[in-house]
């Protein structure tokens, strides 16, 4: 294929990606060093109220925004260097907390709280998703052919459901005296409220994420299981391998590329955990990095959006992505070089 034809085919897609993905990235990078504020000026205002004999006049100095000809506030954009990053990271508080050796104090700072949750969420759900997905795939592979279709249909439901709705559906089972909370209360004889403390909410979030993603892992593993070499399996049996050994030494190595694929996709998706926070309404207890950026961008009571702080937190989130992708990218690069020579 000539370069010109290739460019014509790929052009529209590349153009859209550059315009709506690459360009915003650059602008976020620049914004994170800037602050846009309305220009304020101090004016002396004399207010007079009618009084007996003479008017009572008071003068005071007020700070008002400067208006342009159309009556809009004039804003100015200043370079502030790393100020926004400092506002997000709050390093002085962080070091003070480290100095005290107090974990709780660090967790009072939004950014570090969000980072802690995002990382533990990503790393804890990963083995669970792969394990549960593999278990379902093995069990379905064991089942009679006739019921496989319906089972796949039911399994796809948690995967396909809108994430916000999915987390809401679990939220409603547990909220207040929802049936499952009531059931647990009956068993334990204690008063349980699932949404009053951080760790129970976090448990439900882990559960939700595994519930939501395990079907994806299952479908891929199931497809992989269809291509396991039966001869290898049978010779393993003849060699006296137990069922567990066969799983460990024949099936899992066969599925290894798929496990790597799922792990990569899962890491990418989990790192942007966001919908759970909305669905479980956990912002008072548990927040994630992406939610932090989102929160800076939603207008506050005065209608202002903290764009520069959002940009700074977005850039900090990006650092995590770089770490996440560095290993797989290095491997692809090596493969590519290997195939070229």
């Amino acid at each position: 294929m000539k370069f010109r034809t290739f460019a014509a085919f790929v052009g529209p897609s590349v153009f859209m990606m550059l315009l709506f993905i690459a360009a915003p990235l650059i602008s976020v990078f620049i914004q994170s060093f800037q602050v846009t504020q309305p220009i304020l000026e101090q004016v002396e205002v004399e207010t007079c109220t009618p009084g007996f004999l003479t008017q009572t006049c008071t003068t005071e100095i007020k700070t008002v925004p400067v208006l342009d000809d159309n009556g809009k506030t004039i804003t100015e954009t200043r370079w502030v260097g790393l100020q926004s990053y400092k506002n997000v990271l709050q390093m002085d508080k962080f070091w003070a907390a480290v100095g005290n050796g107090s974990w709780n104090d660090i967790m009072q700072i939004d950014f570090w709280k969000a980072l802690r949750f995002t990382l533990s969420f990503t790393l804890l759900t990963l083995p669970l998703v792969i394990g549960v997905g593999l278990a379902i795939a093995l069990a379905v592979n064991n089942a009679t052919r006739a019921i496989r279709g319906p089972i796949i249909f039911i399994s796809l439901l948690p995967f396909i459901i809108t994430p916000v709705i999915g987390s809401l559906s679990i939220y409603w089972l547990f909220v207040g005296d929802g049936i499952l909370t009531a059931m647990m209360e009956r068993w334990s004889g204690q008063n349980i409220s699932m949404f009053a403390q951080a760790w129970t909410i976090e448990l439900l979030m882990y559960f939700y994420r595994v519930w939501h993603v395990a079907p994806f892992a299952f479908v891929i593993f199931y497809a992989g299981l269809q291509t396991v070499n039966m001869d290898t399996l049978e010779s393993a049996v003849i060699d006296g391998a137990s069922r567990w050994e066969r799983l460990r030494h024949v099936i899992v190595p066969h599925l290894m590329p798929l496990i790597v694929f799922i792990a990569l996709i899962h890491l990418m998706d989990c790192y942007r955990v966001f919908e759970e926070i909305v669905g479980f309404r956990s912002q008072a207890h548990v927040i994630s990095l992406q939610w932090l950026t989102y929160d800076f961008m939603t207008p506050d009571d005065a209608g202002n959006r903290a764009i520069s702080r959002a940009s700074a937190s977005a850039m900090l989130t990006m650092i995590g992505i770089v770490f996440l992708l560095i290993l797989p990218l290095r491997r692809t690069w090596r493969d590519h070089k290997g195939s070229a020579h």
Partner: protein
């Protein structure tokens, strides 16, 4: 598949694997079906702490809303036959009456017509007939199962959820068509070009795939809000404010979706033998003619599958739509977040449940119809590496 004797499994193993599977199916379906049940009950029943009360709905029944044995039996029979008819006769009718060139449109038309007819019969005609029958039959006609559709009426009627529904449809349809058009061309180009540039584009797309969406939205937001001032030098006075415009959101979602789309379509195009378009090229076609005449007729399975995933992205999105659309253009998923803020009474809560079920229902149908395509789409990217 014949199992050799060595591979046979003990009863205990078969039993435990079956039990695990049953448990998983329960776990997978339970939350979704449970909110579906809740949405039909009065608030007292919906948030009752005994599961049996939620299912049977005594308070709903006491309020005079319920189904009698006759209602349930007749309803199930009608449901069974209408589903059967949809799968056996409807395809034939569509094939017969739609001109071959517009088969897809014919399907859409047939499905919409069927849905409207079903709703009219099931929710309009049936209750009328059955209320007469119930009053005649006496004991068989007294309600035994509490059930009310008042929350759906409130959500779709009073709260004008249909506006959000239409916005959702607009955004989703835009996302699917544009990202497929752009993505098919790019996917084909990438699949047929072995150059280094193609490799680097794919890697770049992979990196873009990993970006959190909030990072991108932080870039759009200030530009979109001030876009009429920024664009004025180019477009003059008519420069649009992009914030709140559905088509701006469509463009954003298409771009966010592009990396995934081109990866997926590329893997589908690689499965189409390259000899096919090489033969067309030998016969004197240009690349574009080869694409149009030879590849397009055989690419539909891959395109449909990718389209499904684009649909899911557009339909399920919360973050982008909630930040870039204003209240009057809001789509369904962010609109449901509006219920949280109002959710003061339990009635509001059940209305939120009903709205959630309304959002889920189309997805449920989607899986039912396109299960095979979804599975093949999930595996296409992974199994081939």
């Amino acid at each position: 598949m014949s199992t050799s004797k060595a591979m046979q499994q003990s009863f205990a193993l078969r039993f435990s694997s079956g039990a695990f599977l049953a448990f998983w199916c329960l776990l997978a379906a339970f939350p979704i079906f449970w909110i579906a049940i809740m949405s039909f009950k009065s608030p007292v029943d919906a948030f009752a702490d005994s599961p049996w009360d939620v299912i049977s709905g005594p308070a709903t029944r006491a309020a005079g809303n319920g189904l009698s044995v006759i209602d349930i039996v007749v309803g199930l029979i009608v449901l069974y036959f209408s589903i059967r008819w949809a799968f056996t006769r409807l395809p034939g009718l569509v094939q017969q009456y739609s001109p071959p060139a517009f088969l897809v449109l014919g399907w859409v038309f047939g499905a919409v017509l069927y849905a409207v007819a079903f709703i009219l019969v099931f929710f309009g005609l049936l209750p009328l007939v059955l209320s007469v029958v119930n009053s005649i039959l006496g004991p068989l006609g007294t309600p035994v199962l509490g059930l009310t559709t008042e929350h759906y009426v409130a959500v779709w009627g009073e709260n004008e959820f249909y506006r959000n529904f239409l916005n959702s449809m607009l955004v989703t349809a835009g996302v699917v068509t544009i990202s497929l058009t752009v993505g098919t061309l790019a996917g084909y180009g990438l699949a047929r070009s072995g150059s280094d540039l193609a490799f680097w584009l794919l890697i770049l797309a992979l990196i873009f795939r990993a970006l959190p969406h909030s990072v991108l939205v932080a870039g759009y937001l200030p530009v979109f809000i001030n876009s009429s001032e920024i664009l004025r030098p180019i477009f003059g006075e008519g420069a649009p404010t992009l914030y709140g415009q559905p088509w701006a959101v469509i463009a954003v979602l298409v771009s966010i979706n592009q990396p995934f789309t081109i990866w997926m379509l590329r893997s589908f195009f690689q499965n189409i033998p390259a000899e096919l378009d090489e033969a067309a090229r030998v016969d004197g076609c240009s690349h574009f003619q080869a694409f149009r005449r030879v590849i397009m007729p055989v690419m539909w399975p891959g395109v449909i599958t990718t389209g499904l995933f684009s649909f899911l992205l557009g339909y399920n999105d919360f973050l982008v739509t909630s930040l870039l659309l204003d209240a009057q253009n809001q789509t369904m998923v962010p609109a449901i977040a509006g219920y949280f803020n109002r959710e003061t009474t339990t009635t509001d809560q059940v209305e939120a449940v009903a709205a959630a079920v309304s959002i889920t229902a189309p997805l449920f149908l989607l899986v039912m119809v396109f299960q095979r395509q979804i599975v093949s789409g999930l595996t296409a990217g992974a199994v081939k590496g």
